[in-house]
Symmetry: C2
Subunit: 437 residues, 2 copies
Amino acid sequence: MLRKIYNEELVNGQCYGNLHYLCKNIGQRLSGSPNAQKAVEWGKKLMESYGFDHVFLQEVMVPHWVRGEKEQGVIIDGKTRIPVHIAALGMSVATPKNGITAEVIELHSLKELDSLGESKLKGKIVFFNRPFDQRFIETFRAYGTAGDQRNQGPAAAAKFGVAGVIVRSLSSTTDDYPHTGATKYDPNGGNIPAAAISTKAADQLSSLLKKNPSLKLYFKQNCQMLPDVLSYNVVGELKGTENPNKFITVGGHLDSWDLAEGAHDDGTGVMGSVEAVRILKALGYRPRNTIRAVFFMNEENGDRGGIKYAELAAQNKEVHLAAIETDAGGFTPRGFGFTGLSTDQLKNLAAWKTLFAPYGSDKLTAGGGGSDISPLKEKTPGVVLIGLSPDSQRYFDIHHSANDVFENVNKRELELGAASMASLIYLIDQHGFSAGN
Amino acid sequence: MLRKIYNEELVNGQCYGNLHYLCKNIGQRLSGSPNAQKAVEWGKKLMESYGFDHVFLQEVMVPHWVRGEKEQGVIIDGKTRIPVHIAALGMSVATPKNGITAEVIELHSLKELDSLGESKLKGKIVFFNRPFDQRFIETFRAYGTAGDQRNQGPAAAAKFGVAGVIVRSLSSTTDDYPHTGATKYDPNGGNIPAAAISTKAADQLSSLLKKNPSLKLYFKQNCQMLPDVLSYNVVGELKGTENPNKFITVGGHLDSWDLAEGAHDDGTGVMGSVEAVRILKALGYRPRNTIRAVFFMNEENGDRGGIKYAELAAQNKEVHLAAIETDAGGFTPRGFGFTGLSTDQLKNLAAWKTLFAPYGSDKLTAGGGGSDISPLKEKTPGVVLIGLSPDSQRYFDIHHSANDVFENVNKRELELGAASMASLIYLIDQHGFSAGN
């Protein structure tokens, strides 16, 4: 069966063409935007066109943050003015109309804020400049350990009366593209403007600060938060012949950041998810349990779609056997990570490892999942959360930046991911995770 | 030690910068060309700059084929003329000055030549149009099974008095770029002009032929074979402290096709090979056996450098323990293939598999090597031939085409390959392949 699945996908695969449509005919689709709505409508039609048994939308209110005009950043070093590439962090507030001009304090950790204290920070721009630790083989670990600067840095710095925060882009590479991403303010604290700066400009700023610690940075952005908007998760099902109320979910998120086309993040995820179900249908497979492809809305700046999906699952008393998330890029799949399996069940994966070996997706490891499916853990106890693990080397070169475009996706890599997920769904549907497989 | 090797490379890696120089400051370097000579001189200086114990050149006479003016191809379908992208196959002869215009016979295998016979083929253009079989997970297998059309197709067709041969580009993708590559004439047969056509144009030509089997194709090329030229392999050594006359070789080929920059084929191979040795030196490692980085010359259209290297090894009574070739692109390494190990020795690799697992290069399999090192098998019996196995999904999108440029190489993917090879060299140097490891 796995050979049939891979053959169907590598010969008749449609996800690459679908991704092209999503990226080029719709494009960026930040939650609450008109494009996000277009993507919902197109995604529903796509699932309907595949003849899934049931296709429906789940209503969900989502935040509506808009970037506004292109941001400006300038290093003012004496009489020299050096423009730098910046992009407001998602959910950030605007600067005052005339921007912010202030001296810059370069920090490498949030802890340093405490040691410096308000006297040295007040009125300054805090510049978090800790780069990725390149020694990690998996780049997600480098992202994980650098991420506090963007996620919590602005909120932490706000407590010391700083004027603004600039964060080194969370990227594996050194280039001129700022990488945006959500930051989280303290609900009780001050909201200060925060932006990402390209890694190249960050290096430049750091180097100039060493020579002239009193240089200034100017930056201006007029992003804003608008009222919440009604949006949707898109769901398509192949009904289970034996257990229609037991579910295996596979999904990614339909929303994307606004600087590019959301190709790898997470166009490949949604197109790969619907493709996994399409493959099984194309092969005439009649599942025992209900199989669902889900396009989650609002993973990037709120996770509202994932939360809503889990709430509805609990409300409708659905039994969720497993949920697979694909939100790590459409690169060659290496395997899957599993959360919620017992030690014995993890051992049972050895048989599947052998099945996956000819296809290269045989790293079946403990630990895995994703933001969209994680609320299911609490709401539908017993669910096994699974994350597709693609090769991670290129992901953070383009993640959340203007380079996240269709051209950076390889057809076969994307197809192998879809086939891997279809294979795993088939195995779970047939065997579950019991010792019997 | 492996952790140290990977850290050194991921933090201080130089191969990406070196590759940039090779691609952008030298560029294409087909055997016998002035650029190939520049690459030899620069390569030698690079090795010297790393302070290797001994850096030297090995003289080798190489073929000197030149493409000449850009080729022209036009489908003549009644009054409609459709230009198509073609590129002469390497080693092909020119067309007559005014080009060739003839009817086209589309074939999918060399066998079909026999069944059609001279009466149906004479004076026609044979168009080999069998695409890659996408069902192979490893794209090298698809390349292998389609390759006879380019390698032997023109020689086989020449026996039937055809006017010329057009070959569908050996590529995983459908686009407008022709992929060149060597063809081999029968020394006793007629040499007819042969060119590759882009996959997109091949599909178009095939589709038009179905409607109008008597359409004609025009193509023109003025490539030629010049007299052989003196060129060189570039060799750099770290001398063995215990066994200076026992060698572990790591290499790729310095020559490249002429349509682009030879980035993945095989700039990443040569820069990765010298980097593997640089890493060991940077860590202060004193090898037991002599470790050699080799830039082989003329892999693409003659293999003369590899043959010469093996001849000199035999002549100098060198004992070659192992030779590692990297000529499959600078993509994320998945492991190595080994030729020449006993069953017991293959079993012993299990221990190394465990060591490589955290770095993802743990597919250690039977069978592997490469064109440049294969002559060592006969000339230095007992040598273990090893090929680095990177992820293969993207390779044939760009292989031998105008897309084989630096921009398509990822820094970390290249670095992981270099670190994998340095690690393997270290393990072989310390433990050999005996049961004792």
